[in-house]
Amino acid sequence: MKFAILVFPGSNCDHDAYHAAKHVFEQEAKFVWHKEERLGDADVVIIPGGFSYGDYLRAGAIARFSPVMKDVIRFANEGGLVLGVCNGFQVLCEAGLLPGALMRNASLRFACKDVHLRVENNATPFTSEAQIRQVLNIPIAHGEGNYEADEATLDELERENRIVFRYCDASGNATSESNPNGSARNIAGIINAEGNVMGMMPHPERCVESILGHGSEDGAVIFRSLVEHVDSAVVA
């Protein structure tokens, strides 16, 4: 399968996503420059972490106007799979592909650390290889990851089972102590109504090899799910 990884001038997790897709999961992967107007051939688009255009105004606020994003919106509307990680999640919200917004962390500080996530929905192309309520150990690294939406939207997300990940403690309890940024209802990742566009603040591409950091490979489940989904669709 083919991953297309967007490159905004301030993207800085683009190489990490590429490395995971290409070298760890041995899939085809390519970079797509933000000034391109066409994504070209791709099964999954990853909008990686970073600071797309410096993000002095508001994370992702300018990226949504880039030429490539028009084609990402087309791709998503046609049912293509889009994964936004960290800044990519912020861009997806700014572009209107996902509801809500990512505000400054409640601590008003950047936070880079391993957190626990509970899988709330494994009936998505991004999480099919995970167990429901499985606890994953995946790092965050952001200053603006505090997910906010109005109550009606949050209720709708709950009702439609579109909250994919919640921050939790090691035993899977979504407590306020385990919420690293003040996100509403401990939300760490959500999916659109059609089930093909997912945004998440934690970085799965950072924990797919046991040699790194604290040894977690829990991010692999997302890449494996995507590969499984695309490959089985091809076979069918």
Partner: protein, 769 residues
């Protein structure tokens, strides 16, 4: 290009002040130095020329008071691809066709008045030193010093510096993988902010900071030039005082997004083959880069400053030349390849402007709308050329006799080891720096094998090879204050020991020498001794000095900071998967050993220790014991133990002594330990638990048959020794001396002060333990 106007001398512009001795003195030149300028030029300098001389001959750019001493450091080694001072950073061959460019630099004075931007631009400046060589930065480190956190101004500085480092590095996309933070009242008015960057480049694909080829065009690229940072280099060459607040405009403003673009564009243009030479603009901006590149290539340059893209109207040539606006580079391009550089920088939405041409007369000629405002000999201005070199007067400071005559006779021995241990773990110097490093992106680029936290040195893998880099910044300024020579040796020894504990072979150092006013003979004596000590240690470990930075005038009205020669150590981990070692105990029942020099396991007392400082409020005594041959034997032994696969964890005994070392090994994985130490004759308990004699490492190993004799064989042949001192397990740290339990504390109770000290001092809730 207009013809050279050398037959009619350059002139000041109308409205510019008249140049005379008084104005020269105001610019920081001495009367003698101003005389040398007059002699060399054979006329009165123009206002612009005076500005150029004042920054180029400032301490910051010329190293005039330090270079003679620095040259005594060992600067040669087989693996060094460029010598110290030859390029913007040191370059070390690590095999596999790759080289590492690395350097540490200070940004102390800017951070003292504007902590956020001061620290941010410190990070930005050191990154440019790395990528101007064609290397991609892969890791950042830092070394920070502040006064006491009881002081609200210090908390403001600490908070601002950490945010500045975080915001710049996080956005730029290079992980901050390690560092050190140390608090002492001597740094109260003058914090130290030293930033280090480590980059990687293929051997043979590096770029040089040189101007060559008469007729080749000269480009300025990156950000537009503003009025920020004018005379930043001069500001850095004087003491901090009440008036320093007025120097806030001397502090540059950072833009990490533009730096990221500049990085990518610079590496692309270097890879294109169009570049003859490239240098970043740091201190003294366009002035320094044009003079240094010209001097290096033994040629000259004509620069049209009116063509430099500017941010604000009405800037004069003087201001444009002296601006320290960030995120800019000067590039000499091969004639005919102008379209290549223009296309690359336009792709990255950066300014790219042809502003001059390389000449052959050795002079930098500055034109302003066709009128020559400066014409100076490049060689006369630069370090290694005509810049002044001074050997300052030295005098051994009197305080040394007082501190070194300390004995602990009047200090009661410790009774409750546990409560002293908890007090030490709650000292901000020893306590967890999690509050700091969680504000840094420590993992971006997915190479961080061992980041900040339970590791003596950070380990970064080098993708495409089996290798890793073990990197560490280190200096205990208290030791250097108490015994400058031994303190200088220990700074290097401890950095090397940390690299060894992480599984790396130390290969080279960079250094950042933070001292007081060099015109004070006592300060200069300490400086010379400390550098001498560093040199002793570098020679002993075969870790040459690849470059670095000197920061003098680190004084506030209250006096000089602790002399702080910060070491940035580079080590190579041969097999990153197998050899990387962290400090935390790994499993119940593992055996714990103390590795030490043959002949002793503890030496000396509590002199110079964190214990003496934290519990008794005294900075006193000699620096702790160090013998370089002993130290070397311990490194050899430790590396061999790691390479043979025997080591589960390794942690050196440093600040807080053996008890703190053991506690730190326990805390991270919440594993207790049962430890039994020998009762040494005539040895005080405080010295045994908290003494800081060097060259010791606590490590753990899986239990197996004949373990001790296997390990002992390896260690003995290296000239060191090991003692089995206990076993990992349980929920507390228990230490017995002989048959007496001297310390027995639940790990949880040790963790509370360790984790909460810094967040509490900063008035924030403690993250869950």
């Amino acid at each position: 290009m207009p013809v050279s106007l050398s037959d009619s001398p350059p002139r000041s512009l109308s409205g510019e002040p008249e140049v005379n001795l008084e104005l020269a003195l105001e610019h920081g030149l001495t009367e003698e130095e101003y005389g040398w300028v007059l002699d060399k030029l054979g006329r009165t300098p123009t206002f612009t020329e005076l500005g150029i001389y004042s920054v180029m001959w400032s301490e910051h750019c010329s190293y005039k008071n330090s270079i003679a001493v620095i040259k005594t450091l060992p600067r040669d080694g087989e693996a060094l691809l460029v010598g110290a001072g030859e390029e913007n950073a040191g370059l070390v061959d690590i095999g596999d066709g790759l080289a590492v460019a690395f350097k540490i630099e200070s940004h102390n004075h800017p951070s003292a008045v504007e902590p956020y931007q001061g620290a941010a631009t410190g990070v930005g400046g050191i990154q440019r030193d790395i990528f101007t060589m064609g290397a991609r930065p892969i890791a950042s480190l830092n070394s920070l010093r502040f006064g006491s956190l009881d002081n609200p101004r210090v908390r403001y500085l600490f908070d601002g510096v950490v945010r500045g480092i975080g915001d710049y590095g996080n956005s730029f996309g290079v992980p901050t993988v390690g560092g050190e933070v140390y608090f002492d009242t001597s740094y109260e008015g003058n914090p130290l902010v030293n930033a280090m960057s480590v980059g990687i480049v293929k051997v043979g694909e590096t770029a040089s900071a040189i101007a060559e080829g008469v007729g080749n065009p000269v480009f300025i690229v990156g950000s537009a030039t503003g009025r920020d940072g004018i005379h930043g280099a001069t500001f850095a060459s004087e003491e901090i005082s009440e008036a320093s607040e007025a120097k806030r405009p001397s502090v540059q403003v950072g833009d990490p997004f533009t730096e990221k673009l500049l990085l990518e564009a610079s590496l692309e243009v270097i890879g294109s083959g169009a570049v003859v030479g490239i240098q970043d603009m740091g201190a003294a901006g366009l002035t320094c880069s044009s003079c240094e590149m010209s001097e290096k290539g033994d040629c000259g340059m004509v620069i049209h400053v009116d063509r430099v893209p500017i941010r604000e109207e009405g800037m004069t040539p003087y201001e444009i030349l002296l601006s320290e606006s960030q995120e800019r580079m000067l590039v000499v391009v091969e004639k005919g390849k102008e379209p290549i550089i223009e296309a690359i920088f336009k792709k990255w939405d950066l300014h790219v402007e042809e502003i001059g041409v390389v000449t052959d007369d050795g002079r930098v000629s500055v034109l302003w709308h066709g009128e020559e405002v400066a014409n100076v000999p490049a060689e006369h201005l630069v370090l290694g050329g005509g810049a002044p070199v001074y050997i300052r007067e030295t005098e051994r400071p009197n305080y040394l006799d007082n501190v070194q005559s300390f004995t602990s006779d009047n200090i009661p021995d410790v009774v409750n080891g546990g409560s002293a241990l908890k007090q030490l773990l709650g000292s901000p110097n020893i306590a967890s720096k999690q509050w700091v490093f969680e504000q840094y992106d420590t993992m971006v680029r997915t190479n961080t094998v061992a980041g900040p936290g339970p590791t003596d040195a950070a380990v970064i893998r080098v993708k495409g090879t089996n290798k890793g880099l073990a990197v560490k910044t280190d200096c205990n300024g208290r030791y250097v204050y108490l015994n400058p020579r031994k303190g200088g040796q220990i700074a290097v020894a401890e950095a090397a020991r940390n690299v060894v504990c992480a599984g790396g072979q130390p290969v080279a150092i960079t250094n950042c020498l933070n001292f007081g006013n060099p015109y004070k003979p006592e300060v200069y004596w300490v400086f010379k001794e400390a550098v001498g000590g560093m040199g002793d240690a570098c020679r002993a470990f075969n870790t040459p000095v690849t470059g670095g930075n000197v920061s003098f005038y680190n004084e506030s009205p209250e006096g000089a900071v602790f002399p702080t020669p910060t070491i940035g150590m580079l080590g190579v981990v041969e097999d990153v998967d197998a050899h990387t070692t962290t400090s935390a105990f790994k499993a119940e029942d593992d055996s714990i050993f103390l590795l030490s020099p043959a002949g002793w396991t503890a030496k000396g007392g509590i002199e110079g220790s964190e214990y003496l400082s934290t519990v008794f409020g005294q900075t006193n005594g000699d620096a702790p014991h160090l013998d370089l041959d002993e130290e070397k034997s311990v490194h050899t032994a430790m590396l061999e133990l790691i390479r043979q696969g025997h080591v589960e964890s390794a942690h050196d005994v440093s600040d807080g002594g053996l008890a703190v070392c053991l506690a730190e090994c326990c805390i991270h994985n919440k594993l207790g330990a049962d430890v039994r130490l020998e009762q040494l004759e005539d040895f005080r308990l405080d010295a045994l638990l908290f003494g800081e004699a060097q060259s010791r490492i606590v490590f753990s190993a899986r239990p197996e048959a004949n373990l001790f004799s296997k390990l002992a064989d390896i260690v003995t042949s290296a000239g060191a020794q090991i003692r089995p001192i206990g076993t990992v397990g349980g929920a507390s740290l228990r230490v017995q001396v002989g048959d007496t339990t001297v310390l027995n504390e639940a790990i949880e109770d040790l963790e509370i002060p360790y984790r909460s000290a810094i967040p509490e001092a900063m008035g924030e809730a403690v993250a869950s333990i």
